[in-house]
Assembly symmetry: C2
Homo-oligomer: 182 residues x 2
C-alpha cells in the first residue's frame, strides 16, 4: 500500500493521533511518562479542581495500575487509557458530589464504595475513608487513590483466595511485595 494507508502505522503522511503531540510534550525525551510528569500534566488539566497540585501518590498508584511491563512509567497507549478512565471517574465523582464543592463527605464516599460492589465491615470502611479524608472531606484525587488501591488490593487478594472463601495466605515476602508496591 501507499504510505499512509491503513496497516502502515508510523509511516510519514499517516494522520497522527490527536493526543500524540500532547503526550510527547509531557513525556519528553524518553517517550515515557513518569509519576512526577503525570502530576504536572493532571495539575495543568485541573483534574483536582481549584488548580491545586494533583496528588503525586495518586499518580504513582495510577501508573502501577496500568504498568504491565514493570517500568513504573507509562507509554502512549497506557496514557490514553488512563485519560479515558480519569474522565469516567471524574463524572462518577461529580454525580456523588451533589453540591459540586469538589469534595464529598464520608457518607457519600461510603455509598460510592458500596455501589462499586465492595462488601466491607463498618470498621474497615470507616478506617479507609478516614485515611483518605482531609478536614472530614474526600477530594477527587483521594477518591481516585482510594478506588484504585482498593481495586488492586482486592484483585491481589482474590488471586490468593483459591477456594473463594474470603481467606488468603501470604508469605512475608509476598505480603510486602503486594502492599509496598501498590
Amino acid at each position: 500500500g501507499a504510505p499512509g494507508a491503513p496497516g502502515f502505522g508510523g509511516f510519514p503522511g499517516q494522520p497522527q493521533d490527536p493526543m500524540m503531540g500532547y503526550f510527547s510534550a509531557v513525556a519528553g525525551q524518553d517517550g515515557q511518562i513518569s509519576a512526577d510528569e503525570l502530576q504536572v500534566c493532571l495539575t495543568q488539566a485541573n483534574f483536582s479542581g481549584a488548580y491545586k497540585p494533583f496528588n503525586l501518590e495518586t499518580c504513582r498508584l495510577m501508573i502501577s495500575m496500568l504498568d504491565r511491563d514493570g517500568s513504573h512509567t507509562m507509554g502512549f497507549n497506557e496514557f490514553k487509557e488512563l485519560w479515558n478512565v480519569l474522565y469516567a471517574w471524574k463524572q462518577h465523582f461529580a454525580s456523588i458530589d451533589r453540591d459540586q464543592s469538589g469534595s464529598v463527605d464520608p457518607q457519600e464516599m461510603q455509598q460510592a464504595v458500596s455501589s462499586m460492589g465492595y462488601r466491607l465491615s463498618p470498621q474497615a470502611m470507616n478506617g479507609m475513608i478516614k485515611r483518605y479524608s482531609t478536614q472530614g472531606k474526600i477530594s477527587f484525587d483521594d477518591y481516585v487513590a482510594c478506588s484504585v488501591k482498593l481495586r488492586t488490593l482486592t484483585d491481589l487478594f482474590r488471586k490468593r483466595d483459591q477456594t473463594q472463601q474470603g481467606v488468603a495466605t501470604f508469605s512475608y515476602d509476598d505480603f510486602i511485595l503486594c502492599t509496598m508496591t501498590t
Copy 2:
C-alpha cells in the same frame, strides 16, 4: 505544694514546654494536628530540603503510626515524639546521602533497608524502591514514607504469623483494613 511546684502540671506559673507555643500555633483551635497541618509545619521547617512541600502522604503515614486513639490527628505528646523521631531519621538519611544531594540512589536505599534488619527478596526490594523513587532517586519524605510503611506492615504481618514461620492468613476484611488504612 506551692503553685508551680512539681506535680502540679498545668498550674499557672509552671514553666511551659518550649514546644507548646509552636504546637498550639500549628494545631489551631481544636488542639490537634491533622495531616494537612503537619504538612504545612514540616514544609516550613524545611524537612524535605530545598523548601519543596513535604509529602502529604508521608504526613498521613506518620500520624497513623502514632495514632493510638484512632482520631487520625496528633496531640502534643505525639507531636513531640514525632519531632524527635524525624530528627533521628533525618540524621540517618544524611549518613546514607554521602554527597548531601538531598536524595539517595536505589543502591544506598537498599543498604539502608537491609541495615534496618528487613530480609526481602530482590524482587520485593526492587519493586518497593522503584515505587518510592522519583527520577531514579529517593527523597527524604519518600524514605520516611517507605520506612514507616514497611515497619507498620511488618508488625501487622507478625501479629498474624502465629507460628513465626513467615506465613500469615488474612480474611478479606482484615487484609483491606491492614492495607488500606496504613
